[in-house]
């Protein structure tokens, strides 16, 4: 029983972090109809940024993640504004190829700059644990979970309640009509992509704090983002959080009770079952005209 509770807790904590990774992926897909295959590379790049500022000036990763977020926001904004925007109106296949190319370039650049060695961002406290009954609560993971949930909810609030958020939703639903409102769609697209990359970078730094990372991990995070985004309902940010928690739990339970190779198979099995029962995702509504929902 204790081992089950321990796995459940671990799954929930990991799931919150996965939700933060997937929420940007889902946002970009929902607003711009771009399946960003470089999303996982943004996550890992964020981990390296957090690692680098820690290495240089000893910045705590839970502060360094804001540096990572800022750097990745800038990179994401620029990539969308001056590169992806050139083809964003084309078929989805074109953006798929472009982001696949970006993924290869970023991952290879990280291999050259940082080598393929596994790294971790050291702290004095992330490895410590609280003990609740017989269950161990790792401090670093608890903190990462808390930050992830707060940031995801803040994103929901931004999109729902601010002028900027309104322009993002409107552009996602009807780009041409949004332009007639005087909204600069290209800027909004770049902003959306920048936000997604920034959140990925932030999550990356936390991943590097509670575990290890190397450039090859990028594709795994893209894959997870895809599963979680579809599971939760496209463009639905609460959905990404819930999808993240579900996948986190499935992975933790599978890791506890099944051979390790089963983990991904089980994650996709859950996805398939959910899509059969609820084709628009766990919290998505079958209202595709309104592509982005919160």
């Amino acid at each position: 029983m204790t081992s089950f509770l321990q796995a459940t807790l671990y799954g929930l904590l990991q799931g919150g972090l996965l939700g933060l990774i997937a929420v940007g992926f889902s946002l970009v897909w929902g607003v711009m109809n771009i399946v960003n295959l470089a999303h996982g590379a943004f996550v890992v790049l964020g981990a390296y940024v957090g690692w680098q500022v820690n290495d240089w000036i000893g910045l705590d990763p839970f502060l360094g993640m804001f540096v990572a977020a800022a750097v990745l926001f800038g990179l994401g904004y620029a990539l969308q504004r001056w590169l992806i925007n050139l083809v964003v109106n084309g078929p989805v296949f074109i953006t798929l190829l472009l982001t696949f190319g970006l993924d290869l370039m970023i991952v290879q650049a990280m291999n050259i700059a940082f080598s393929a060695d596994y790294r971790s961002i050291p702290t004095s406290y992330a490895g410590d644990s609280l003990h609740l009954g017989g269950i161990r609560v790792p401090l670093g993971r608890l903190l990462a979970f808390g930050v992830s949930v707060v940031v995801t909810l803040a994103l929901v609030a931004l999109v729902n309640r601010t002028r900027t958020g309104l322009s993002i939703m409107a552009t996602g639903m009807d780009r041409a009509a949004a332009r007639l409102m005087g909204i600069r769609a290209r800027h909004v697209y770049a902003l959306t992509f920048g936000i997604a990359a920034g959140l990925a970078g932030m999550a990356g730094t936390m991943i590097g704090t509670v575990g290890t990372f190397n450039p090859a991990a990028a594709s795994g995070y893209t894959l997870l983002s895809f599963v979680i985004a579809v599971l939760g309902g496209l463009g639905n940010m609460y959905g990404a959080l819930i999808g993240g928690l579900v996948i986190g739990l499935v992975e933790a339970w599978a890791g506890q009770y099944l051979p390790g190779t089963w983990i991904n198979a089980l994650a996709f099995l859950v996805l398939v079952v959910v899509l059969i029962v609820r084709p628009s995702g766990l919290v998505g509504r079958a209202y595709y005209a309104a592509r982005l929902e919160v």
Binding site: L166, A176, A177, R179, R184, A290
Partner: protein, 231 residues
């Protein structure tokens, strides 16, 4: 005149749609632009609001050229475009739609447009996609007014609406014009359009073939035969 269009031509790709259009809209005036399907009415509005580039001629709004301005700069000048098919943000509430209308000018005061279209008030928190056709058109016009434009261009106001509803919405236009927003109204329903407009232009295959006072055009034999079904 507030809007002065001279010898304007425009089109898509290799296809030229508009040829040497001359048109003007004055202060607090309602001007109708009528004509059959495919005449280029929508293309003209899209050119004036900067969605497509003009190829020749000039369009000036209060002396400032529209030709080299972007869509949002044209919104800044005080021109609102209520597009064909309304193009509401269907998944957003009526309130959000209206706020988006005032997005560029940062106008968040809904009172004035609610006063013009009272049926919208109980619908404010409702998703725009769930409104009736007439309410949707009211919402689209109200959204256009939210930027407090000096000129509002409305494309196919009557599309898909019952005649009674069309009359109800058209009846609001004189109030809108009197309050300082001139209206350029594109319509296929010629009778309805000429009933509220002061002047009108008839557009056929990309050229203005007739223009003048609405009353005069209503009495014109060619108009009666082609558009009003009066032989």
């Amino acid at each position: 005149m507030m809007l002065e269009v001279r010898k304007l031509s425009a089109g898509y790709g290799r296809v030229q749609v508009l040829w040497d259009i001359d048109l003007s809209v004055g202060e607090r005036e309602i001007v109708a632009l009528v004509g059959p399907n495919g005449a280029g009415k929508t293309t003209l509005l899209r050119t004036l609001s900067g969605v497509i580039r003009m190829r020749g001629g000039t369009a000036e709004f209060r002396g400032r050229s529209l030709g080299d301005r972007s869509i949002e700069q044209i919104v800044d000048l005080g021109i609102a475009h209520v597009p064909e098919g309304r193009r509401l943000f269907a998944g957003l509430t009526v309130r959000a739609n209206l706020l988006l209308g005032g997005w560029r000018t940062k106008n968040t005061d809904l009172d004035r447009v609610i006063e013009l279209f009272p049926p919208l008030e109980p619908r404010l928190e409702q998703v725009a996609g769930s409104l009736s056709g007439g309410e949707q058109q009211m919402c689209a016009i109200a959204r256009g007014l939210m930027s407090q434009p000096e000129l509002m261009m409305i494309d196919e106001l009557s599309l898909g609406l019952a005649p009674l509803i069309v009359d109800e919405i058209l009846a609001r236009l004189p109030d809108i014009a009197a309050a300082g927003t001139s209206v350029l109204l594109v319509e296929q329903d010629v009778d309805a359009a000429l009933s509220v407009a002061e002047r009108a232009y008839v557009l056929e295959t990309g050229q203005v073939t007739l223009s003048g006072k609405a009353g005069v055009l209503l009495a014109d034999k060619r108009i009666q035969e082609s558009y009003l079904g009066i032989a």
